[in-house]
Symmetry: C2
Subunit: 720 residues, 2 copies
């Protein structure tokens, strides 16, 4: 190794220079494109402040959010940024400060045992969980690489031998239970260990990172690339962790590409690394990650991981759509890859990111289920129906098979609670997952999918859930009738259920309407609950609710039900409707549940002694003592309220009827609009693409091929 790692990382971008040479001072910041210039300024502010404050490397003590935790995080960022600034400016103050920090760690690190605030996660040395130690190493190696050639041999040896190598040893041989997993914590460990290996010229570390501790390839980075992403680049734990996992994948991949170009790592498994970056961008709405599974709702593409991913992916592809993402981010990274992004963005090379419908197969073979995104516009904040027909997603997975969500220009409309957690807020149990994450956030009733007998899917045992796939039966991603059909037969012992979710574009309606046909088939008598969690203020309903006005009871005892306050219960013959309002838009939810259904209005937040839960509304359709049951529901966004102009249009629904019939082996839904038009949607049990079906409507036969038929019927007669 004669070149520094960071320059190797950047090999595709700038010519390598010998690292032992003093870097030439770069041109003044004015010479950089604005985005990169701002990064340099920001880093200078940070690192200059750190230089003024002096070296502060405290003995580890606090959990997430506490002082020592945050200080060690600040330090690895200072090491990373200081190294880059030294490369860019040649200013020895940066080199010396990074060196002094690392020498302080050389003093401290060898003395450390397991972190005193360790909890149920694998303990680190510097942090309460070893995951953060891995992140430290990934950052520290990248910063150290930029100054290493300019240090005295003694300092270099001290830092190599008392910080970098022992950390890499701790995270590899010292933590087999972490690095040996197929899991994002292991990816971070591999990246740290592998980067350290390349920097130190330690082939043993590199091989362990790539192929596992036994170098068999059964674990390690390459195996993670095989197993953690589906062929479509979807990450099993879901979008929030896909984001989190990306950084070590892309950073380590870039290092592999620079150090071992013959591996052609960016072509590995049909280009899985770059697919993963593209898919990460696709699983957002208005820039925010769809918060299924354990996820913080405030997490967007504006994160460190995505700054790295976009810069590296742009460097590898030169696809100008990445530049529009960088533009939205308003940030980039301090590496040569980031410099290239900034320059091309300033040169107006950006193109909009093409948000389109996607069916992302899940599981290593892509056949264990799917995460389906249906969109009607390429706008990042346009209508989006999400069908979560994916796999369990390991320990961070929720019990929400066949869950659905809806987003549009007003934000999340049909919602996912995300995780019960206040990340990095020390007063909230050190920023860790809260007890309500298990008792509420991951429970089935906290999602928009079927609950049988008040039990979560797989009895709430994720390890059981891991064994069973979801069956994605059919989908159409384009045209006026987009849909997904999926089935799960393992979530409950006696009940299987199938769900068709359709996004219908209708002439004369400004927004798509979302049709949901969920059919449960069971043996024995069951309670079926179908919740809808929504965002907005209730406007009105045609259900006569028995309201709980002056004393508010709790819905149930366990499995999340204990966290729901009851606002009212009611019944309604025929179609029932609830209308709410969010931002400038109205939403009417129309329901044609099985006969005898009741409706429960509820709100999260009961039995929450520490105020850990947000309080959000839900509507539950409930039927008792049924074997089979079909719930037909329709979400209709409508109207516009303009607070500035004080105008309101179409605050009333345009849907006057919603009917359901079973015709042989076909589920038939009939939607009637206020102008008399009707839309018939037929879903055949037989989902084969080529099968011909027909039903009789209004005394005339209507025929179609494949699982879904749609017929827009004029007031008299019908047209296909």
């Amino acid at each position: 190794m004669t070149r520094t790692l960071a320059l190797l990382l950047a090999a595709a971008v700038v010519p390598a220079v010998p690292a032992t040479a003093q870097p030439a001072p770069a041109a003044s910041a004015q010479a950089y494109a604005p985005l990169f210039g701002a990064e340099i300024d920001r880093a200078k502010r940070d690192v200059d402040a750190s230089i003024r404050a002096g070296v502060n490397v405290p003995v580890p003590k606090d959990p997430g959010g506490g002082f020592t935790h945050e200080q060690h995080k600040r330090n690895y960022r200072t090491i990373f940024e200081g190294g880059q600034l030294y490369r860019l400016t040649g200013d020895v103050r940066y080199r010396d400060h990074v060196r002094d920090l690392l020498l302080a760690y050389a003093e401290l690190y060898p003395k450390l045992g397991p972190h005193p605030a360790a909890s149920n996660q694998a303990p680190g040395r510097l942090f309460w969980q070893s995951l953060n130690d891995s992140v430290f190493l990934v950052n520290a190696v990248q910063g150290y690489a930029e100054i290493r050639g300019a240090l005295s041999a003694a300092d270099r040896r001290r830092i190599d031998d008392q910080v970098i190598r022992p950390m890499a040893r701790f995270l590899s041989d010292g933590s087999p239970e972490v690095i040996g997993r197929i899991h994002n914590h292991a990816t971070w460990a591999c990246a740290g260990v592998g980067l350290a290996g390349y920097l130190l010229g330690d082939r043993d570390l590199v091989d362990k990172a790539l192929l596992g501790l036994d170098k068999s390839g059964k674990t390690g980075f390459l195996r993670q690339l095989d197993l953690l992403f589906s062929p479509d680049g979807y990450y099993a734990e879901g979008p929030y962790y896909q984001r989190y996992a990306l950084q070590p994948f892309v950073v380590f991949a870039a290092a592999i590409d620079a150090n071992e170009p013959d591996r052609k790592i960016f072509d590995y498994r049909n280009g899985i690394v770059l697919k993963a970056v593209r898919t990460a961008i696709d699983v957002t709405h208005d820039g925010y990650f769809i918060p299924v599974n354990d996820a913080m709702r405030d997490k967007s593409l504006r994160t460190e991981e995505l700054y790295h991913a976009v810069a590296i992916a742009y460097g590898a592809t030169k696809d100008p759509a990445f530049l529009s993402i960088a533009d939205w981010q308003g940030r980039t990274v301090l590496t040569p890859a980031g410099e290239a992004v900034a320059a091309d963005l300033a040169a107006n090379k950006a193109k909009p990111w093409p948000f389109v419908s996607r069916l992302l197969g899940d599981g290593p073979d892509g056949k264990q289920g799917a995460f389906v995104l249906l969109r009607t516009k390429t706008d990042p904040s346009g209508p989006l129906l999400v069908a979560k027909n994916s796999v369990q997603g390991m320990g961070h997975g929720h019990f929400d098979r066949l869950n659905w969500l809806y987003y549009d220009e007003t934000g999340p409309v049909v919602t996912d609670y995300g995780a019960a957690r206040f990340l990095n807020v020390e007063a909230k149990r050190g920023g860790r997952y809260l007890p309500e994450n298990d008792s509420w956030a991951s429970a089935t009733i906290a999602h928009n999918t079927l609950v049988v007998d008040e039990q979560s899917h797989f009895a709430g045992d994720w390890k059981v859930g891991e064994k069973f796939q979801t069956r994605q039966l059919a989908a159409t991603l384009d045209g006026p009738t987009r849909y997904s059909i999926a089935e799960v037969d393992s979530a409950y012992k006696d009940v299987k259920f199938r769900r068709a979710l359709l996004m219908l574009e209708v002439e004369g309606l400004a927004n798509p309407i979302m049709l949901d046909i969920l059919r449960a088939t069971g043996s024995g008598r069951h309670r079926y609950d179908l919740p809808l969690h929504f965002s907005g203020h209730i406007i009105d309903s045609d259900i006569a609710f028995d309201r709980k006005l002056a004393e508010r009871p709790v819905l149930g005892k366990a499995n999340g039900y204990q966290h729901l306050w009851v606002d009212g219960e009611g019944t309604k013959a025929g179609k029932a409707r609830l209308t709410w309002m969010q931002g400038s838009r109205f939403y009417s939810y129309h329901m044609a549940p099985p006969a005898g259904a009741r409706f429960i209005l509820a709100e999260s937040g009961a039995n929450d002694p520490e105020f850990n839960l947000r309080r959000e509304p839900a509507l539950i359709q409930r039927i008792d003592g049924a074997d089979d049951a079909t719930f037909v529901s329709l979400l209709e966004p409508h109207g516009e309220y303009d607070a500035s102009a004080e105008t309101t249009v179409a605050s009333s629904t345009r849907v006057t009827a919603l009917e359901h019939r079973r015709e042989g082996a076909v589920e038939l839904a009939l939607i009637t609009l206020v102008d008399g038009r009707r839309i018939a949607v037929a879903i055949a049990d037989d989902v084969a693409a080529g099968t011909k079906h027909s039903v009789m409507i209004d005394g005339r036969p209507l025929a179609w091929t494949g699982p879904v038929g749609r017929f827009d019927l004029a007031r008299t007669g019908a047209k296909k």
Copy 2:
């Protein structure tokens, strides 16, 4: 009258031309500054669509939000915009469409009686309340004025005699109970009647508008200018209605100025019209009006009224700070005044609006109380403490004497519920004020001020409240110790209370801290409740709450208490604290209430059968059986949570103690910081500016002059 009204309105801006001449086609839209060009494009879209749709002048039927209501609103906008477009383009399609609309009204209007959906407001003819009829006339006259000279004599006569004059007669002689009031509905009526009078050359209408129906000057526009605004330009009903009232004031004032320049209307009462515009801008945070009294929270400077006000005020003053407001609005009006705003904005003449602390005296003499704004930055979204020491504010006033609010970069922190209303949402009782506006939103317990014996101020009778002023005793608007001291002795029979609200800047703290010393002095034994309504998610508290986890009771029976769910009750010896989080910041509320106080955590939304209420948290400090009681509270914003960078700093409070002592005729509060520093704040009962006071602290005398002394005490010793 030989010139059209609109050109007269614009006399200061463009030279007048004879209205009977065909307007010359203006240059293409490209010649206009972007802001004005966009207005022309927007108006063309609207009016062209109206032309395509054809004339639609329905028989009035619906209340606010309903079809006929919205259609008549669309029509007056079309008349206004079509008239302006005809002036700007000379395109006869616009002239003819405006004419045809007005001729259709000439057919309909004479046949109309009181509106069928009239409720408790004075009924209109076209709308459910005559207020909207006034707004119609103000807009219609401005549009009609632009085409009137280009019509046939027969058409002109028909429109004059069957629309404009009868509307003006209905709103003047036909509605003495409206136009004779000192109230914003009357201002709209005066503006409509007066504009019609100028247009028709009808001096009788003009005089009635200016001086009242009997022309005595006891009512009418000039009297409204005398009585509705305080000398500081504050409008008695509060910011929301100040905004609403502005449009007729500025539009009619501009017309008076153009038609009767000798009146020097913009100089009237020391320039009250322009003061009112400036004050309207000052009573906002981040562009949104402070929602005291009946107010919609989503109302901002981005409204039609303020587009007019800013354009006319800029025309009258050329103060470049108005341009920065227009820039934030992103809109202007289609008049020559709007054209000038757009041109100067495009020429980069804008200067930032200087948001500073203000004491806005209330009442016609400015001595009936005050609306106090304390700011530490000129940034529109910077820290802002509001002390509502103003008068009742008529029927839209809330029972909230000495209420306070706090805003900063995260938005509203200490909040006002505003109005219980869904403006223009027909399903919510036609968009009118809801029953919960009286039962909750206007009640004292819904505000951050003292409630005695669970009764609202003035027993909830606004007409009684109108008779009593608030006493603004002292204030300091600048320096590190900004404050307001006020008193009210009429809200309760047996109890008077005084409140000092201070905004303290403290070295080493990134944000100001807000100290609140509220002293009630009563005869007899009372229950004193001091609520705090806040926005954010509860993080933690050192109060041991008895939580209502599985069944949620209601706090009380009446006066707003019936709308509060109880989440918990608790006690704490010494200082108590509640910490919440909003956006990126933490807020700790420290309390040193009287001994024996209890703390109640509650949430609005109980006894709300129609889901008309938002659900928002409140903390109540309660003491029972007391005669006198002093509540000392401190709001401390602190820390920063960064979701993108996953960092958190200072999530813990920096305040370790808050003590209260009464020393003779002085209230003394002692704040201790985590680093050992202490801040002593002394408030003398004697608020005279020149009086000298002293107290003993730590065995040494500390002396000051005037009502407030502040002493920053180092760990040992003291410095002033």
